[in-house]
């Protein structure tokens, strides 16, 4: 596993840049993902997505499906892509400190 040093913190990340542990997420991690994902500024809508994702993951041990994410935030998929150019799975989940989904998806 590779490590990333940023704002005085050290993170272990996988090949796609996802954090190794859900619990290692912190505000500095968000800032790091902001820079690698090419996001200009983290606004309230980014934060809302992160909160919803982390909350769902804590309850269910899995990221919400895109349609649930869309419904519970009120953001259309297109808008989520505007917020996170690499999409809900690769962008938003990464910022929220969730692992990548696997299987037939």
């Amino acid at each position: 596993m590779e490590t990333v040093e940023f704002m005085g913190k050290t993170f272990s990340v996988d090949e796609d840049g996802f954090i190794d542990e859900f619990d290692n997420y912190c505000p500095e991690w968000e800032q790091w993902v902001k820079t690698v994902e090419g996001i200009e500024e983290i606004n309230d809508e980014h934060r809302k997505l992160v909160v919803v994702l982390r909350d769902y993951y804590e309850k269910n041990g899995i990221a919400p499906m895109v349609r649930i994410l869309s419904k519970s935030t009120g953001f259309k998929l297109k808008h989520i892509y505007e917020l996170f150019p690499s999409g809900p799975g690769k962008g938003a989940c990464k910022m929220a400190g969730l692992p990548k989904p696997t299987g037939c998806v």
Partner: protein, 552 residues
């Protein structure tokens, strides 16, 4: 990534100047998947978990790795007669050479099925045949070295085990089985890919590839229940883990989680509600056996057996009559070709008979598991479903025979019979790329990851172009399939090779055409797209700019 036109124009089938044994394997970016994380292997008690990358010089192999592989080969040559025969009988006629989608898409000779097999066969000759021991390289034999091992890893994870090549082999060599053994040998050294190892570990732990726990599984289906109510006006509650239900229903978890499979999942739910309300047939879901797929097939026979067992354990626990299996791909190869000798016979279940029509599913006598399109086809034949195919009139549909149901289980007619009864516009792709000759999506057998996109787009080229052909010829806008990996990967492949085409499962088409007791007047299908307006001719509407999906 280069665009599809450029990719097609750059294709070359000129072999390298050097002999294949002297041509070194160069790992190319986008053509391989990431290595399995140690935690996945540890969970399965699989050997030699390690934090590694295939690009590392040192693969952290145990000192006696060669012994392990050769001993593993010996064991398997004794255990699997097919493996022994397939190692011995190839005459290198070349009939399979240009049948592989990966060869067609890459032009790399080591993607010819004959040569892929030769990678392993050369070591077999060297260590297990007299001629090979005496003649050496002249006899097509070579030493097992670290470079050979790395070559195996690269090319055995560039085969989707789709078995198209085996259709053309005059000897009936099943090259997929050679890949299967090749991967099994690599797994003896902990050399899997993460996209396979993770679903395996999840499935063993929670019952499905995604790692969906029981409460989350119910939560997801509840979400669909709300969505279905919005579209149809009918609330269709499902039952879970219900003891004494008539049938246990098992679907791939990809349909529960990922679009557009989720619409197929809603299709299953509508169908189950319909069967309960109209015919009194009780189908239940399981939150324990919540996966049809079996990534064990891509790992080792042992892993496959361990993962397959749960379906039958759950069917026995719930005391159902038999199992109804959904639109899953490789599940059907495992069920049809391995289950009976692996975990069977499942004598505690009944020989499947359709309770509504009396039809005996003779082919499922031993496995006790019926494919949903066989079941649907039978219901339609006996007029047990009230259907209005005109609701799908905006769709011009073609059917992608998903490799494993087609070649692994012989499901060829039933899907077509169902589609033709729920859609008015059905067009076949050219005959040399459908039915048992179907072209793979290029992403099966666990290669549906994100990092190997080059491999996926090259391997999917034949399928993509066949779809594009019917798109240009007939205006086909919908590609139906019966596999969750297909539904996950074909949208990306279509985006690349045939951008006007959407992907769906058959159950979604059925559910959209089904007239449900108490439903409101339907104006939209499950995707929220408007149903064709009755006053417009399909062909005319298809050309109009306000046709759904046209803008953007």
């Amino acid at each position: 990534m280069i665009d599809s036109k450029e990719r097609a124009s750059k294709l070359s089938y000129l072999p390298p100047k050097t002999d294949w044994m002297d041509t070194p394997t160069v790992y190319k970016e986008g053509m391989y998947c990431y290595a399995a994380k140690p935690s996945r292997l540890e969970y399965m008690d699989a050997p030699y978990p390690k934090d590694w990358s295939c690009m590392d010089e040192d693969w952290q192999l145990p000192e006696n790795w060669k012994e392990i592989i050769l001993e593993g080969m010996k064991e398997r040559l004794e255990k699997y007669r097919t493996f022994k025969i397939f190692m011995d009988i190839c005459v290198r006629c070349g009939a399979c050479a240009d049948k592989c989608h990966f060869f067609i898409g890459t032009g790399d000779p080591k993607n010819m099925p004959v040569l892929r097999a030769e990678l392993l066969r050369s070591v077999y000759r060297n260590n297990f045949t007299k001629a090979g021991k005496i003649l050496g390289r002249i006899g097509g034999a070579r030493e097992l070295t670290i470079d050979v091992l790395k070559e195996w890893w690269y090319y055995f994870f560039q085969c989707t085990e789709c078995r198209r090549c085996s259709v053309f082999c005059p000897y009936g060599i099943d090259t997929a089985e050679i890949t299967i053994i090749g991967r099994e040998l690599l797994n003896l050294l902990g050399l899997n890919i993460d996209w396979i190892a993770a679903p395996v570990a999840f499935c063993f732990r929670t019952g499905n590839h995604m790692g969906i726990q029981p409460h989350a599984f119910v939560d997801m289906l509840d979400f669909f229940t709300d969505e279905i109510e919005n579209v149809t006006g009918v609330r269709m509650e499902q039952t879970f883990n219900k003891k004494g239900a008539d049938l246990l229903f098992i679907c791939p978890s990809g349909d529960v989680f990922g679009d557009p499979g989720t619409f197929t999942c809603m299709g299953y739910m509508i169908l189950m509600h319909y069967l309960r309300e109209v015919h009194g047939l009780d189908c239940t879901w399981s939150t324990y056996a919540s996966e049809g797929g079996n990534f064990g097939l891509f790992t080792s026979h042992e892993t496959m057996k361990r993962l397959n067992a749960k379906m039958y354990a759950e069917a026995e626990r719930l005391k159902v009559k038999w199992i109804l299996g959904a639109e899953c791909g490789h599940m059907w190869r495992v069920i049809n070709q391995y289950m009976v000798t692996m975990n069977g016979p499942a004598d505690f279940l009944e020989e499947p008979v359709n309770p509504l029509t009396g039809t005996k599913f003779e082919n499922a006598k031993a496995t006790k598991m019926v494919h949903i399109t066989e079941f649907l086809s039978d219901l339609i034949q006996h007029k047990k479903l009230d259907l209005d195919p005109s609701r799908n009139d905006r769709l011009k549909v073609t059917f992608h025979d998903s490799c494993n149901p087609a070649r692994g289980a012989g499901i060829l007619e039933e899907p077509r019979h169902v589609i033709k009864n729920v859609c008015n516009h059905f067009y076949e792709m050219p005959r040399n790329c459908i039915r048992e000759q179907t072209f793979c999506c290029g992403c099966g057998s666990g290669l549906n990851a994100g990092e190997d996109m080059e491999l996926r787009m090259t391997g999917g080229m034949p399928r993509g172009n066949a779809v594009r052909y019917v798109n240009e010829l007939h205006g086909v806008n919908t590609l139906a399939c019966i596999c969750a990996i297909d539904r996950a990967v074909l949208p990306t492949l279509m985006g690349y090779w045939a951008p006007e085409v959407d992907v769906c499962g058959i159950s979604e088409l059925v559910a959209n055409a089904l007239i449900i007791p108490g439903e409101k007047e339907k104006t939209e299908n499950l995707r929220g797209e408007p149903i064709l307006r009755k006053d417009v001719e399909p062909d005319e509407w298809y050309t109009r700019p306000d046709f759904p999906g046209r803008e953007e």
